[in-house]
């Protein structure tokens, strides 16, 4: 990977490929373009400072960046210190989200899957994912039992996985 050799052009190429994913997830979480741009900058600078954080033998860069961006945006939203050590984050998934067409197809599939979920399940998943709420906070807000919320969140994520397994 070009970035490992300290190549600034390599960094620009990675930005061109993955910045949209990083920015859009941060924007959805934070609801503010400036704050989303800050997360974008922070995530790429972390990669620049320490490219060893991402282990290319154990996953693709695009999904890894998306997960890190979501973590950082939630940390910003909840005004908390980073909770996840990004050196520990290994993401196992295809697609790589590198190409526009590939990303567009995947996006359609994800939106279709979310759209076909029961609304209570989608709501629980989105509250956990985009608002960074814990299952007990979601339970308080929705009045649903804790166990139900836990189950909905997990089965929501598994539904996404299943959509891409076929």
């Amino acid at each position: 990977m070009a970035i490992r050799s300290g190549d600034e052009n390599g960094m620009a190429a990675l930005y061109d490929r993955y910045s949209a994913v990083v920015y859009s997830v941060a924007l959805r979480v934070l609801g503010d373009t400036g704050a989303a741009a800050d997360v974008l900058q922070e995530v790429f600078m972390q990669l620049w400072r320490n490219p060893g954080l991402f282990d290319s033998s154990r996953g693709s860069l695009g999904p890894w960046l998306a997960v890190i961006a979501r973590h950082r945006a939630i940390d910003g939203l909840r005004k908390r210190r980073p909770e996840t050590d990004i050196a520990d984050v290994v993401v196992s998934v295809e697609p790589d989200m590198a190409g526009d067409a590939e990303r567009a197809r995947a996006m359609e599939k994800v939106r279709g899957t979310l759209g076909s979920m029961p609304s209570a399940q989608r709501q629980a998943l989105e509250m956990a994912y985009f608002e960074g709420l814990s299952h007990s906070e979601i339970s308080e807000k929705t009045g649903e039992p804790l166990g139900t919320i836990k189950t909905r969140i997990r089965s929501g994520l598994l539904a996404l996985r299943k959509a891409f397994a076929t």
Partner: protein, 254 residues
């Protein structure tokens, strides 16, 4: 799926960063030794990455790219090569840093410990100062470009001289010589510690420089030997285990 069912839902919450307290601690403990739950965690993060795709559409402002490129240009990668200085000058700092980090990790930030950290840092700074002074002394003694002058009574021709400074408790010995005679090929001078009882102990093999000067700093010595005198002989370059006569220089302790 081989993931442990009792952890399955907690794993999803953990991937999302939503698991707290006891549940988080017990899951992390389990994750340490469970490869299948680890794999499931990676899969769940993959699912999270897919979830991120549902937001696709907005593109970052154009200036964000420029901002990143400028920041990257301003911050060249640090070289992996460490600064060249003696590792031992870092020892007090590393010790202080390790202790401080350990204390922070334990969350024991009470005022008593903070006072101890401050005390340790003061001590480290003091030790660093002492090390610095010691280094300066040693580097002056051993510098090849040092001007070495032996003062003797006026109108006396220069004589070979040696000065041994020995601290028994630390087995520490510094020997400085001047006006030494040049040596035959394949020969060297050897310094001997003559103990109050027993055979002479080798205390360093050395050759004088072009001006006849030489130093021996802290040769390996047995601990706590009481010295009554020091002597110098001429030996093979590799040194000897017992002195070869004649003794060319000799001095007894006061």
């Amino acid at each position: 799926m081989s993931v442990h069912e009792q952890f399955a839902e907690d794993l999803a919450l953990y991937a999302l960063g939503a698991l707290q307290g006891e549940e988080r601690v017990s899951l992390e403990k389990h994750l340490d030794g469970c490869a299948s739950c680890h794999r499931e965690l990676e899969q769940l993060r993959g699912d999270m990455a897919l979830m991120a795709l549902s937001t696709a559409g907005p593109v970052p402002p154009r200036r964000a790219r420029q901002r990143l490129i400028e920041a990257v240009a301003r911050e060249p990668r640090r070289s992996a090569t460490p600064a060249t200085r003696g590792w031992w000058t870092l020892v007090p700092w590393v010790a202080a840093a390790a202790l401080a980090a350990g204390l922070v990790a334990l969350g024991l930030q009470n005022s008593d410990l903070q006072r101890r950290i401050a005390g340790l840092q003061d001590q480290s700074a003091q030790q660093l100062g002492e090390l610095q002074r010691a280094r300066e002394v040693v580097s002056t003694l051993t510098a090849t470009d040092a001007m070495r002058v032996t003062l003797v009574a006026a109108k006396t021709p220069p004589q070979p001289q040696g000065k041994a400074i020995y601290v028994r408790d630390r087995s520490s010995l510094i020997f400085l010589a001047s006006n030494l005679q040049p040596l035959p090929p394949q020969k060297a001078y050897e310094l001997w510690l003559i103990p109050t009882s027993g055979a002479p102990i080798p205390a360093g093999v050395f050759k004088p420089d072009a001006h006849g000067s030489a130093t021996v700093i802290n040769p390996p010595l047995p601990a706590g030997v009481q010295a009554k005198a020091f002597a110098i002989t001429v030996e093979p370059e590799s040194g000897s285990s017992a002195p070869t006569l004649p003794i060319v220089m000799f001095g007894a302790g006061e």
